[in-house]
Symmetry: C2
Subunit: 719 residues, 2 copies
């Protein structure tokens, strides 16, 4: 093959290279494009690959737009012309790339994460994300990136509220609302020293290295300031329907889902006045923007065609309805960026939609932990926590009996708080949030729990990225769950061999927004009246202000599957007597709740105080600022016991409520606990943790903590 | 930046291009490499990038080996030399690439799937896999690829048994056993018209487009026949320990985890005799091969250095212990292929192991369904089932009430049979396999089931790729499960909105290897004696030979969570009377088992015949060749009822066994069933399916099937 092929190859190469030289001297920076020409690539009528300035052709479209003609550099036809396209962007290795994204609300935050995953998957450069967010998105994304710990990734936040005034005067009909318009003010909003930035919509997905996109800045002529891909729909040609009057644009106009901005030049050119003037003038005759910023960008470009550097279509393959994108992707074998720019998003009709969905789902369900990859050969700042953790993990001795414990302790879990839309409860002095944690195998509890607890809840879910999507669909499919706005779901992404039960509790606890919290477990259903009763008790007992107390909610269990839930204490007592209800863990571990003194509870009319005793682990209501759970307790065993001990050490009164109760429903042991039961070494490691914990207690509480040590002396099987 | 930069860039480019021209005429095919030289890249002492033939340098390593010097084409340092590397392999778009892999046994089959996923993820060309397999691997992989339906992928199988004689005479100490040696005979084993092939070990992972590797064939000089990456360990330098005598090799020698073979030239050169001679001669002084084929390849190359084309190190980054690989990947920013060539595999010690693990886990847990991507612009054969399915899926009307049903029917599930090592049961005329299906939330049942059923089992598991790995770890962690060799686990990969219960049953049923099967459900625990009793009954009742019968195993249920399992019929009756045991679904759906006639069972000493009645769905023992389940019943409801109806239509006697029993344990409703309960339209769609099913029955069984229709008339809630 090769021998026969070579002579031809040589001739072609020689010609090519001479042309290349000419190309260089004639056309300056645009070698790649001119080569595309000279290489005689088949092209759609009336369009040329990225020229110096767009020329409007007969049919009114900007002949400049590489648009639906495929990405020259993506062409793998083995034609000589492609031999001198830079194999990868000619960037200094490890050059820092800047990306700006506008993001508001819970749903966009989830979209942004998927976009970022796709970027990180292919990237080989350090990245700096500039996120223009509202308070919600910032709260979510700050925590997410902080816990994600991706090496060589920096994130800065900009407050959307401060920018609103600059665009809020523009009437707009687009579904993106005001946020779409924010892209117009980025040159002013971003740091003045920032010269170039890639601007992305949250509904795009990368299928290639973003450095290749960044490299296209090199093709800007001196006057060009904005890089854009041509629109892949006929919207701006007008006449889609009677009286359809789009904003002015060069032919099909450009799509602003992916933008290259030369911020430095835009600032020099007085971009602010430029677009404001245009917008103001157009709005004299047009009622509002239909496509938000995109209408205004296009109107400005129509006036100043010299500003735009058209980008190859593959950098913004637009999957709107009636898209013309196929003309782009069927020619190029290599899609770079997919843009779900239909309000229908993934449900858009397109005969290749399954193909694109697969690319999207790849990153939607991709385990984000796997993106904590260092960039070999790029020095990262010393504070690159991720690398330290990974080194530490790599250094653990896998033969060590407690290897899994140590592994789990080293793990930093990615946390995505308020994964779904959530309305913070109105501030009330005695309000209580139910706090619990769960994994996939307990999702079925959520509906029942919602029926039993009308108040606010803060729930930590331990899920993989893929499970988080199943969870999302589960909530959407449930009338009960989707109706609730006061339940906050916080996703903690699975990592490590053991269930980090106390880390999960601490995440849910930290996100509770009411002054009090009910520290429960997911397998318990509280009395229907508990939410109201608790608020009343807190008020009556004047908690917080004068007294530091933990209200004990007596716990029961049913071993029966079919079970009609008692509506009153009287009914609970009846069920106890009939033997269809037991005090919690009556059979296996009575001492866990013995101090609650159920005999006294039968009779009690008013709250009564009880004393701590070894292994006591009641379900309690405490102020939100209570001590956190000790994260060293992973998997199962002793995790609540230690917390109650800490409360006692801090001299919380333990007050049992006379009317309150909560009931544990039966279930198979979870995978995690069955692993525990099967492993003997697990218990030894647990014992080691207990000892450490006690030493800490004595260190912190001195003599007062002695009783815990003595209590520990008597041997017993671990809770 | 650009304006200032350009003049320099131009000068450099001009120089570069002239050099390129010279390079072309002087050195023929090896432009890339020579440019690497002329571009003045820093290189390790004594080595040069892929020259025409390797030269042995002072330190005895092949100076030819690009080895640990980084991949020139991968260098992104923006130096001129990289500007003229083909951006992608200069292959005709859609060229078919050939890949050969040797694979034997259950575990290698799983490894191969991960390797193939990584190849498919980045590939843009049609692929033809040539798999040299033993019977087990073939059985697994044939089914897997058949159901995977990846567009533009062909698979051929070659029987390892036929090839063994050619290598079995070679004494070998490597852990890969005889299979490692198979690579030597590929030129003879593969079709004579096949000129070039990439040969891969199952323990490599791709991080780039395999076409880039294929493109390196273009750099072979006329006499070169084998492309290899230099070894990244000092093994072949010898003296690793006292009396360490490795096989002869050029310096560090080459690693055979990734090989480019010019089959055509090897055949011409009489490769067969060549390696046999060398091996025979070396074995006069050496006891055996230590590294299987690799020792022999290296010995041959040492004799004929002209045969080898050294490949850039990034195409085989070897993660053995004490690897020198870091010298490769720390320079190149772009790893192409990772090779887990330590017996420890992922547990190998390496300070960057977490990085490599992440790449590996990416594909281990990657949803293989997402790789069913068509190649745009590459015409695929009409038989590309996947594309048809995907088109059909895209054409479904999402507003249609039964959309999810239709979606589920169109879905073809990937099936990986005998996912874990399994020993087929010895042939016995009356043996019975327990057949059941489950998803992740029922894993906890497996240990108990193994205790109750010592016989063979065929279980279909409905899992995601990630869950399949959790399942693997679960079995490894369980003494009970890992002890069992007669339990076959068949993974059916999750896809579509509804639980394909009957497809799962059919997969498990089709894989049962005994003459009889017990069609059970995963939440049932059979009597400890059932396995023996059934085999006895089958023998006594002379099933198969004379009579066509279904043996009914009476079903019971406990609602109690803590439950001591009855060891005899007498105990069952006692528990029934004490109300701690019920006949199955006694409360919600008695008619499902009423025909079993429990009253009669109490008294029965011998098997008794019962008549079919509407909605009867007993658990039965039948010959393996019984009718399959109707896959149109997805999600929940009526799936067993239809099957029993079919048995009755085919005139199976229904014989209830007097001593047999099986007991259902309580559990929360699964996610899938709770979705069903929440959806009213679901029931309508189910009804539609029932009607279709009845029409088919009457079509197939005529008048005999009338009774089923009439039975259907009486309205009742769906099972």
């Amino acid at each position: 093959m090769l021998p026969r092929g070579r002579p031809r190859a040589l001739g072609a190469a020689a010609l090519l290279l001479l042309l290349l030289l000419i190309g260089f001297f004639l056309f300056g920076g645009d070698v790649e494009c001119e080569l595309g020409e000279l290489g005689g690539e088949r092209r759609g009528p009336g369009s040329f690959p990225c020229p110096l300035t767009p020329r409007v052709s007969a049919d009114g479209r900007p002949r400049g737009a590489a648009a639906v003609d495929g990405d020259p550099s993506a062409d793998r036809g083995g034609r000589n012309r492609s031999d001198c396209v830079p194999p990868r962007p000619p960037l200094p290795k490890c050059e820092l790339l800047h990306v700006a994204i506008v993001c508001a609300g819970h749903n966009s935050s989830r979209d942004l994460v998927t976009l970022v995953k796709s970027v990180l998957f292919y990237r080989k450069n350090p990245l700096h994300f500039h996120l223009v967010t509202d308070a919600m998105a910032r709260n979510i994304l700050e925590m997410l990136f902080h816990t994600w710990m991706v090496p060589a990734v920096r994130v800065s936040f900009y407050d959307v509220e401060e920018l609103k005034p600059q665009v809020s005067w523009i009437p707009n009909k687009h579904y993106s609302g005001l946020y779409g318009l924010m892209k117009l003010v980025l040159p002013a909003a971003l740091p003045p020293e920032l010269a170039r930035v890639i601007v992305l919509d949250t509904d795009v997905t990368f299928a290639s290295d973003i450095a290749e996109l960044w490299a296209l800045f090199a093709h800007f002529s001196d006057e060009q300031v904005i890089g854009l891909v041509e629109n892949q729909s006929d919207w701006y040609l007008g006449n889609l329907w009677r009286n359809h009057r789009p904003w002015p644009a060069l032919g099909r106009g450009f799509n602003t889902g992916v933008i290259l901005l030369r911020l430095d030049r835009l600032r020099q050119a007085g971009w602010g006045q430029m677009w404001t003037l245009t917008a103001t003038r157009e709005l004299l005759t047009l009622p509002a923007t239909s496509l938000a910023d995109q209408d205004i960008f296009n109107a400005v470009i129509k006036e100043h065609p010299g500003l735009v550097q058209p980008l190859p279509c593959v950098w913004n393959v637009q999957l709107s309805d009636h898209t013309l994108a196929e003309r782009c992707y069927s020619e190029a074998s290599d899609l770079k960026v997919i843009h779900w720019n239909s309000p229908k998003k993934l449900r858009v009709k397109n005969k290749h939609v399954e193909y694109f969905r697969n690319l999207y789902l790849t990153f939607l369900e991709y385990d984000g932990n796997l993106l904590r990859r260092e960039l070999f050969g790029c020095p990262s700042p010393p504070s690159a926590g991720a690398e330290q953790v990974q080194r530490a993990l790599a250094q653990l001795d896998e033969e060590d009996a407690c290897f899994e414990f140590r592994q789990q302790w080293l793990t930093v879990h990615r946390v995505h708080v308020t994964f779904l839309p959530h309305e913070p409860p109105p501030p009330q002095p005695h309000d209580v949030t139910l706090v619990a944690q769960l994994s996939m195998d307990r999702l079925q509890m959520l509906e029942a729990l919602c029926r039993h607890w009308p108040g606010p809840m803060s729930l930590a879910l331990y899920l993989t990225d893929a499970e988080a999507q199943q969870f999302l669909r589960f909530v959407e499919a449930s009338a009960v769950l989707s109706a609730r706005q006061n339940v906050a779901y916080h996703v903690v992404y699975r990592e490590g061999p053991l269930y980090p039960v106390n880390r999960l509790r601490n995440v849910a606890l930290a996100q509770a927004l009411t002054p009090y919290v009910f520290l429960s477990d997911i397998d318990f259903l509280p009395a229907y009246s508990l939410y109201n009763d608790l608020r009343a008790s807190i008020e009556q007992l004047k908690l917080g202000s004068e007294r530091r107390a933990a209200l004990v909610v007596p716990a029961f269990e049913t071993l029966h599957y079919r079970f009609s839930f008692p509506s009153s204490k009287a009914e609970v007592l009846a069920l106890l007597d009939s033997g269809s209800l037991y005090t919690f863990r009556y059979h296996e571990w009575p001492r866990g709740h013995a101090p609650t003194d159920y005999a006294r509870w039968r009779e009690a009319q008013t709250p009564y105080r009880v004393q701590w005793a070894a292994d006591y682990e009641p379900y309690v209501v405490v102020p939100r600022d209570c001590p956190r759970y000790d994260p060293r307790f992973v998997g199962f065993g002793w995790n609540k016991v230690a917390h109650i001990m800490e409360l006692d050490a801090q001299e919380y009164e333990l007050l049992v409520l006379p009317e309150a109760f909560t009931i544990h429903l039966p279930h198979r042991p979870s995978l995690d606990i069955s692993r525990f039961r099967s492993s003997p070494t697990y218990r030894d490691c647990l014992q080691a943790v207990k000892d450490e914990f006690h030493q800490d207690l004595s260190r912190r509480y001195g003599a007062a903590a002695l009783k815990y040590l003595t209590a520990l002396q008597q041997p017993r099987h671990p809770a």
